[in-house]
């Protein structure tokens, strides 16, 4: 035990670094959120208590950005989970060798830097001469204003993020599938379960921890989504794709309202904490709670 307690000393540099890069900025941000602080005029910084929070919560633009965040996050999360699960299940059914090769190829979008991805997606989504617009034109499909229409701009952001993050979802779910107890699945097959029933009553409940993990991570990331919005739409058209994070960026870096930006950052952090802890559990429960009830009912039948 003596050597184990000695090892704790090796944690000190990491803890110090963590405190420096995580805790100090967080603490400073919380501290500054109580001040009216316009960066070019530091001498006029004044303590206003919860004034920034009150101003934000009574600001229509805050609620609009909150709504935009929810809409984009919900759309992207649904798409990423549905497609990610479908692809993971497909890979699960393939021979190991083929699955490994495909996994590498599928994962490629995830290793592209988000800003780089955003830049070429911007040219793909450009109206009239973008790759997607030209492809639609060749198929006789009426063109879509991907970046200029407020509704379609939200869809475009969700699609852009999904393109990059579905591989991550695939990877995690596929790893979870590979770790499943094959005996349980075989027993269910012998009992007559197949296809949809096998998935709903056996596989998904068994994947619960992995699903929880991937949903939590994606919810946190989606609420902090910035790169795709910055490159593709700049928060526009108007404020159609201005999310909480983007509004924070505008306040702090464009308007130099450091106090208000910090307050919005703290509010965003609280929202993300609540959303990721309750949202992922609730979602995961919705998937298999009905499945569990059905299983209990069917096993209770004589």
């Amino acid at each position: 035990m003596h050597w184990q307690s000695a090892l704790r000393r090796f944690l000190i540099p990491s803890l110090l670094l963590l405190a420096l890069v995580k805790l100090y900025p967080l603490g400073l941000s919380v501290y500054l959120s109580f001040f009216d602080y316009y960066l070019p005029e530091p001498e006029r910084r004044a303590f206003i208590g919860f004034g920034n929070y009150g101003a934000l919560l009574s600001d229509g633009r805050f609620w609009a950005s909150f709504a935009n965040t929810l809409i984009i996050a919900a759309a992207a999360l649904a798409l990423e989970f549905a497609v990610g699960l479908a692809v993971a299940l497909g890979l699960y059914r393939l021979p190991v060798g083929a699955a490994r090769v495909l996994t590498v190829l599928i994962f490629l979008p995830n290793i592209v830097t988000p800003v780089v991805a955003g830049l070429f997606l911007r040219w793909m989504f450009a109206s009239q001469w973008g790759l997607i617009a030209m492809s639609f034109a060749l198929l006789g499909i009426p063109p879509v204003d991907w970046l200029g229409n407020p509704a379609w701009a939200k869809v475009t952001i969700a699609l852009a993020d999904s393109w990059q993050q579905i591989p991550f979802v695939v990877l995690v779910l596929y790893a979870g599938l590979q770790a499943l107890d094959r005996d349980t699945i075989e027993a269910a097959v012998i009992d007559g379960a197949s296809g949809w029933k096998l998935l709903w009553y056996v596989i998904l409940p068994a994947l619960r921890p992995v699903i929880l993990f991937v949903l939590t991570i994606r919810i946190m990331d989606l609420f902090r989504l910035f790169d795709a919005i910055y490159v593709l739409t700049g928060g526009g058209p108007g404020t159609a794709t201005e999310t909480l994070t983007f509004y924070t960026y505008r306040l702090a870096f464009q308007f130099l309202e450091i106090g208000k930006g910090s307050a919005l950052g703290v509010l965003t952090m609280l929202v993300i904490t609540m959303a990721s802890s309750s949202g992922s559990t609730g979602l995961a429960t919705c998937i298999w709670k009905p499945a569990f009830k059905a299983r209990i009912r069917s096993s209770a039948r004589p």
Binding site: A6, A126, W129, G148, N149, G234, P237, F255, L256
Partner: protein, 416 residues
Amino acid sequence: MAHRVKLATSAIRATALAGLVWMSVPAAEAQVVLKVLSNRYPATEFYVKAMEEAIPGVKVEVTFMPVDKVLEQSRLALSQGSDAYDIVYVNDGIQQLYAKNGWLEPLDPLWAKYRAEYKLDDFPEALLEKYRHQQRLYAIPFNANTMLFFYRADLFKEKGLQPPRTFDEYMKAAQALNTSSMAGTAISLKPVDAAQNEVHWYLNAFGAQWFDDGWKPAFHSAAGVRAIEAMKAMTKYAPQGFTSHANDETTVNLQQGLVAMGIMWNTRAKPMDDPTKSKVVGKMDWIAPPGGGTKMALDGYAISRFTKKDKDLAFRVLLIASDEHRMRQAAALAVPVRKSVLGDPELAKQNRFYPGLLAALNVAKPLPPLPEFSQVGEIVTRHVTEAVTGKVEVKPALDAAAKEVEALLAKRGYYK
């Protein structure tokens, strides 16, 4: 295990000691490196290269960014008193804020010192005035930019149309030239810079103003409402996605023949005749924008007050890069500001767009010299976009923008 812990601890101590020894060894003598933050377009790329070649032994490291990102980056760095950049791009608008906050080095002593050697009287006083704050000079102008009216002369001739001088003529021409494969006119409403340029033109062309003499918003006047109503009407002839179009998208649209006309910076005129990029070589022509009043910007470079480098050296690099010879070479890329170059009749012969450019310069108007104008621009363009896309009626949108702008300026102490 205890032995392994001791070995690991010893290894860490040895590494740390080696690092300390390495850091204490004096570095080899380094050449002077000036860090430049600049907006990117062909003229600035040319001038930054000229800075790199200006003085032997002086290296220039440049960070190029789009204009709104440059301004954001420089604001952040300078507001913190950082020496991250020695020379920063400024325009006549943002220079006001930077000079007011004491972020830029006053250049008057150096200007007087090198006046004769670098022929600094060749810079028009009217332009230098744009870079003064409380009578002190803070930047060197490199080029003047304005927005010209680009139009497809071949299509106008085909349809028997005259180049539009008024807004009514502009609208009729856009309607006549609008087809399923080509939009009648370009409109760039991407937030914030592009949208601000369009709004500035429309307001001026309809006789509206941004502010009154007391810095109270005036853009929501009857003239301002007419201006934005006209913009809303013109969007019928704009290409799809115009709310996400900025300089690059509109330039591509013009080059590819996807729009028949529109306003764009003079720096984008020459590329219209570039056969490697343009499908409309020799077909584009230029005039002053209908109604006049497009944005005029004076681009230049200033020296950060927080630089630790020799400011005299940095100043000389800027002067050499902007000498008459180099400005003459860059004249095809942007409007030179030295009198000896701008007045050269040979330039008009070499560059087709020069007559249109000079006409546009005569009627161009700078943005209001308000240090907080970038925030004002964001507020106004946000509401204008909502009005133009039909989300809100024009008058209520402009009134809401005026209320927000007035609250902002009141907070900044503009109203006593």
